[in-house]
Amino acid sequence: MALRFLWGVVHTPRGGASAFVLMLVIACALFAPLIAPYGYALQNLPGSNTSPNALHWLGTDEFGRDLLSRIIHGARTSLTVAVTAISISVVVGMTFGAIAGYFGGMFDRVVTAVVDLTWSFPEILIALILIAIIGTGTESIIIAISIAYLAQFTRLTRAQVMALRQETYIEATVNLGAGHFHVIFRHLLPNAITPVIVAGMLAIGDAIILEATLGFFGLGAQPPIPSWGAMMSSGTAQIFIAPWIILFPGAAIALTVISINLFGDALIDALNIRSRLRDV
């Protein structure tokens, strides 16, 4: 059933093309050491800043490191950070949102107040505040990104649960003597989960951009671990002599994020949940 559904999504032009690119990126992230022609930290100073050629398809950076290999390894950093951060955000946000939406009362008011407070702030500002507190590095930016997106999933889940709570079948379940835990996790969340998961998938694209931006500021993964953002940051010094150092990692980000957006869009259409996502 699920497989047939996915097959249907992949068979649309944009679904198929974006799925292909995404598979490629995920394969790079999973099997980076096998796919990459060179090691990501392998330096060759005499061959620094060489333009794309047969040996180095995308050229080399200021230390003579192969750009293609670093982009392939960078996919691992970017995807790990983005997927981990958003997964945490979705799980925690769904829990908060479901409890707030189901029970209401004081907890709901506090959650709503905090969500409204953070809602008007751009994610990057929230992430920067958090990084100022917890410091730089890969773990820190995972935590910072996951908290930056928390409001979005809390709000979305809460809205879904509030709408579903009025349904007759929930009332029936409660009247049959089901506990709160059972109602939330067996009935409300399974029905509320689809839009939240799709929103989460789309947020992975935003999180990749946020991760790259933080990496570009020098706040993310520390060298020599390659991340797309940090690669471009060191490339800015070489912008006149070796523009490919900033061109290709950026193109990798753009291609990945556009594919995620197109695939998410195809999913939204296939699942017919556009209206459920819009009011949030």
Binding site: L125, I129, A132, F216, L219, I246, I258
Partner: protein, 308 residues
């Protein structure tokens, strides 16, 4: 209208207090002793105690907060550790650059976004509509700092039309404004297009057509006017995003401004400056949202009445 503005302003006070607590706690939540960051190597315990007393760190935390807050509302944000100058001076120096950049980017994205969205809606489902919307989709999905670098490569390095970085001349503003503005253009154009297509289906528009009013007069005079409401809503909600985008773009173009000051001091762990910048950005987001709410209330009497 005045009553509405005052009420909305009062609602911002608890928000501001909450934000100030978070930003105040910054220094105290950072692992390690804040004094260790500023004391010189090899200082005696007596010197350290003197510094602790000087910064009031021996007092209970709520007293420190009250002290910090009362100084802050008087415009005293402490001294920068690395730059050794009052933080308020640094901010006063950088803020005008950020304001100029942010407001120009806002104007650019509003004007170009509404124009592009309106044209796309009027010529809906033609190649022009699809072309504009595709370019806009691409423009909104690439990271803003990469777009900034591409602009530098194309317009500054290759064509030499604009300066690569800095803020000495007015022309140095062009590329940063374009970079930040494009993200906003995408959003505004999309909302304008959808809203116009929605309004165009309403009965009163049909009636205008039936009465024989010319198409352009209907589209621009009635449909576009009614479609402005959701556009203003989105703009007021997303005003903070323009500031967020400005942080990265200022950094890339090496422009003076709150964003680049924030990133530099974050990398140098100069916490008083970080606090000051975050505070200013938070205030800017709050005021921006307030401004959006006021514009909305001017346009829609129902919002004004709802607040009473």
């Amino acid at each position: 209208m005045l009553l509405f503005t005052v009420k909305r302003l009062l609602m911002l006070i608890p928000v501001f207090l909450a934000i100030s607590v978070v930003i105040f706690m910054l220094v105290h939540l950072v692992p390690g002793d804040p004094i260790d960051n500023i004391i010189r190597v090899g200082a005696t315990p007596a010197e350290k105690a003197a510094l602790v007393a000087r910064y009031g760190l021996d007092q209970p935390i709520w007293a420190q907060y009250v002290n910090w807050f009362s100084k802050m509302v008087q415009g005293d944000l402490g001294d920068a550790i690395i730059l050794r100058r009052p933080v308020a001076d640094l901010i006063a120096q950088n803020l005008p650059h950020s304001l100029a950049l942010g407001s120009l980017a806002l104007v650019f994205s509003t004007v170009v976004g509404i124009t592009a969205g309106a044209i796309a809606a009027i010529y809906r489902d033609t190649w022009f509509d699809r072309g504009v919307m595709t370019v806009i989709l691409l423009g909104s999905t690439v990271p803003s700092f990469w777009l900034a670098l591409l602009m530098i490569l194309l317009f500054a390095v290759t064509l030499g039309w604009f300066p690569v970085s800095g803020a000495r001349t007015a022309s140095a503003l062009v590329l940063p404004v374009l970079t930040i503005g494009l993200g906003g253009v995408a959003l505004v154009a999309r909302v304008t297009r959808v809203a116009m297509m929605d309004i165009a289906r309403r009965d009163f528009v049909m009636m205008l057509h039936a009465k024989g009013v010319s198409r352009w007069r209907i589209e621009l005079g009635s449909v576009l006017r009614h479609a402005m409401m959701p556009v203003v809503t989105i703009l007021s909600l997303r005003i903070g995003w323009i500031l967020g985008g400005a942080v990265a773009v200022e950094f890339v173009f090496a422009r003076p401004g709150l964003g680049s000051l924030l990133i530099t001091s974050l990398n140098q762990r100069d916490y008083p400056v970080v606090q000051g910048c975050l505070l200013m950005l938070a205030i800017a987001v709050m005021l921006g949202t307030l401004l959006g709410d006021i514009v909305q209330a001017i346009m829609d009497p129902r919002i004004r009445e709802g607040m009473k």
